[in-house]
């Protein structure tokens, strides 16, 4: 009785935490180094870029869309910020411009989806290609190096003993969580993803909310760009290739429904952590990166299967 009443909700609500806990337990038994503070901070730092992108992705997926352009947008924003900084803009302004352009391009894609009625998959696929092209044109295919200190601080610095990328990630997690759970905007995203027709008949400004979702994903790409550029101490024209798929994977493992209307910021964060811990663990255990890809694929399918089983009842 009790299990029937509470079991499934406990599983679905905390299933991800349990999975993460199990993973951590297993890895700490397999590798003594895994549980060290240095390694855990390292995991968080490695996870930060994917987590930031995945949080933006979650907002788009929630409303029933998808954003394939984030990897390319990240590269473009990073290159622009770096380029502006080197051409004499004060670093904070250069960074702001980079992020701002990412938001603007996200908005543009949102306009195409919401007002021109084009399918999100196609619009952002075009974005994926075009933004990469813009990056290659702007950088002439070469990395931009020799960045000023603020970039390095964003990528490699620490605040109160915590790596700055982790700080950025946690702030963005908090922001996204508040957006989704506490604001009218967030509620509208869930409503549109859950039943767009019902949302429209309830007077929700559907088109504007959709545009916002892509703009927010652009913001995520911009922030991730600054962190990555700082960590690499350079803007790489090929940075972020394939990152969109990792971001989607984190969101999905975290319980976000690709059909829209279901998912949380915390879930996505945990999804990113699970994937990150798995990668880290396999690195520590010297698993070849080829096998790592297979394992990652298996985990994504497994997470969906478990989710489906829990929800079916």
């Amino acid at each position: 009785m009790l299990w029937a009443r509470f079991g499934p909700s406990l599983l679905s609500r905390y299933g991800l935490l349990w999975a993460l806990g199990f993973l951590i337990l297993a890895l700490s038994l397999l590798s003594p180094y895994f549980l060290s503070t240095a390694n855990l901070l390292n995991v968080l730092r490695q996870v930060s870029i994917n987590a930031i992108l995945a949080l933006g992705m979650t907002v788009v997926i929630l409303k029933g869309g998808i954003d394939l352009s984030v990897g390319s947008l990240l590269a473009l924003a990073g290159a622009l910020a770096a380029g502006f900084a080197l051409s004499g803009f004060p670093p904070p302004l250069a960074m702001g411009l980079g992020v701002g352009i990412a938001v603007a391009l996200g908005t543009l894609q949102g306009l195409l989806v919401a007002y021109a009625g084009l399918p999100p998959f196609i619009v952002t696929l075009a974005g994926l290609t075009a933004f990469r092209g813009l990056t290659l044109v702007y950088t002439d295919g070469r990395p931009i190096t020799g960045l000023p200190d603020p970039f390095l601080f964003l990528g490699n610095g620490t605040l109160l003993g915590i790596p700055v990328p982790v700080m950025v990630m946690l702030s963005f997690l908090l922001l996204t969580h508040l957006l989704l759970q506490n604001t009218a905007l967030g509620r509208y995203l869930y409503a549109i993803g859950g039943n767009e027709e019902a949302a429209r008949l309830s007077g929700v400004p559907v088109a504007r909310i959709k545009v916002f979702a892509y703009a927010y994903s652009g913001l995520a790409a911009g922030l991730a760009a600054l962190v990555l550029t700082g960590r690499l101490n350079s803007a790489q024209p090929t940075a972020g290739t394939g990152f969109e798929l990792d971001a989607i994977a984190a969101a999905v493992v975290g319980g976000t429904s690709l059909a829209g209307g279901r998912g949380t910021a915390w879930g996505t964060f945990l999804g990113a952590l699970i994937i990150g811990v798995l990668n880290n663990g396999m690195n520590l255990l010297n698993v070849s990166s080829f096998y790592q890809l297979i394992a990652k694929g298996a985990v994504i399918v497994l997470a969906l299967l478990v989710d489906r089983l829990v929800r079916r009842r």
């Binding site: 604001t183 019902a198 008949l201 007077g203």
Partner: protein, 482 residues
């Protein structure tokens, strides 16, 4: 021996007995009409025949063989085919591909397929190009393709369920000709329609269902339309609600130009409940859609309404026909559904004020007696009647002065239905003008200060209480020349 015999079919849905031991017999070479008001059990009976539903009791015999029930594939294999208002055709595939869908040989020359399709269509006297994608055909031709598809699958019983609802007069004629042709080929044809003129033109016999029971099976030849209507409607109790009179304040003036509807001007006093009666496709839904800014154009007191958002701002709200696909976001909590249209007024700087939102949901849960009394449950977890109350709560939370309701009690049990009627009467007392569009004429008789009957995009009659129910129904189904 009859071609089709359905014997003592019974079916319950929860507490509702949808069919109570119904017998239904169709002979080869007859068109047999099945009529009854909404909820009489027609579609349940036909779903059992098509295998979409398994009955709780009874058996079905086709050509002397007992059918295994509850399987669509089995029914189809035995030669039972359905032609619905919404057709089961693949619009992107060609006519020929649709005709032989699911039965392609592994390698087939498209020209061969076209030739076979051509032969089949010509055999039926149809001039439809076999290579045309079905989606490019008119609605009427699509219906003909659906019939041809059923025949190519060796159907022996064809059920037409409101098959003409989306067709023009000319297209309807074409379909009639085809049906007459099929009758001469000794098929058993079941014709379900709300339009009695079709029934009289086309059918040989009629079976009347009322409240899940068979009332009569009669030849149509010498039957008077009024008698048929009376059989459908039965002797009704005059159980009208005590409606408050509309307020004497200035009326709302509504100008409506709906899709497929003659332009219309209405005036509606605060607290008045106006009923729109008519069969599906008669134009009554177009009125409601235009007034909520969905399709067509409408002016309320001279001000245009171009979108739902604008409608809501002007105090108009729609309770849509289908609560699951239009009314509610099923995954969201009942609380979030109720607050959705007024969410902005419950925020400070864009942040939702939880205490206000919870208070709003609590208020409406109590006012409408929604069960279970837990606004945090997802909307999907509530029963049909309570989901409908959730949609009503949403509507009321916007404090509308004009409430539009489409099929407000469809699929709602009797008890909840009575509650909903009482609520509507209460709001009328509060001065909310209401327009109720419903296929259930009985509920309009019960509820409305005034009823407009729509047929083919026009208002054909206006009724005031005391209503004579048979007369209103007769106008709705077209048993009276307008």
């Amino acid at each position: 021996m009859a071609l089709l015999e359905m014997r003592k079919i019974s079916k319950r849905f929860g507490g509702i007995e949808a069919l109570k031991g119904v017998d239904f017999v169709v002979e080869a070479g007859e068109v047999h009409a099945l009529v009854g008001e909404n909820g009489a059990g027609k579609s349940t009976l036909m779903k059992i025949l098509s295998g979409a539903l398994a009955p709780d009791g009874g058996e079905v015999w086709l050509d002397g063989r007992r059918l295994r029930l509850g399987s669509v594939q089995e029914a189809r294999r035995q030669g039972i085919a359905m032609v619905y208002q919404e057709l089961n055709l693949a619009p992107n595939l060609s006519v020929a591909e649709n005709l032989f869908l699911g039965r392609f040989p592994p390698f087939l020359d498209p020209r061969e397929l076209w030739a076979r399709a051509q032969a089949l269509l010509e055999g039926l006297g149809l001039e439809i190009p076999p290579e045309a994608p079905v989606g490019t055909l008119e609605a009427g031709q699509q219906a003909l393709v659906a019939v041809a598809q059923a025949l190519s699958q060796k159907a022996r019983i064809l059920v037409f369920d409101e098959a003409t609802a989306a067709l023009s007069a000319r297209e309807t004629e074409q379909l009639f000709r085809l049906v007459a042709d099929l009758r001469s080929r000794n098929l058993g044809l079941v014709w379900i329609s709300h339009r009695l003129e079709e029934v009289f033109r086309l059918a040989d016999r009629v079976t009347v269902l009322r409240d899940g029971q068979r009332v009569a099976t009669l030849p149509l030849a010498n039957l008077a339309p009024e008698v048929l209507v009376e059989l459908m409607v039965g002797k009704r109790e005059e159980a009208r609600l005590t409606l408050p009179s509309p307020k004497a304040e200035a009326p709302l003036v509504l100008q409506v130009e709906g899709v497929g509807l003659n332009p219309l001007r209405l005036s509606l006093r605060p607290g008045e409940i106006l009923g729109l009666a008519g069969v599906v496709g008669s134009g009554r839904s177009a009125v409601v859609e235009a007034l909520f800014g969905l399709r067509g154009q409408a002016l309320v007191n001279g001000e245009p309404i171009r979108s739902p958002l604008e409608a809501i701002r002007k105090g108009v709200f729609l309770v849509p026909a289908d609560r699951k696909t239009q009314g509610l976001v099923l995954e969201l909590s009942a609380r979030a559904n109720i607050s959705l249209p007024v969410l902005r007024s419950l925020t400070f700087g864009g942040v939702i004020l939880p205490s206000q939102e919870v208070a709003l949901a609590r208020h409406w849960f109590q006012a409408l007696r929604i069960r279970p009394q837990d606004p945090e449950q997802p909307a999907a977890a509530f029963s049909g009647g309570n989901q409908q109350k959730l949609v009503l709560a949403k509507a009321l939370a916007t404090k509308p002065h004009l409430l539009l309701l489409e099929e407000p009690t469809r699929g709602v049990d009797v008890a909840a239905r009575q509650e909903i009627y009482a609520l509507l009467a209460d709001w009328a007392r509060e001065g909310v003008a209401q327009i109720v569009s419903s296929g259930d004429t009985e509920e309009l008789l019960l509820l409305c200060h005034r009823i407009l009957v729509f047929r083919r995009g026009q208002v054909v009659a206006e009724f005031h209480p005391p209503y004579r129910g048979e007369e209103v129904v007769a106008h709705v189904v077209g048993a009276v020349r307008a």
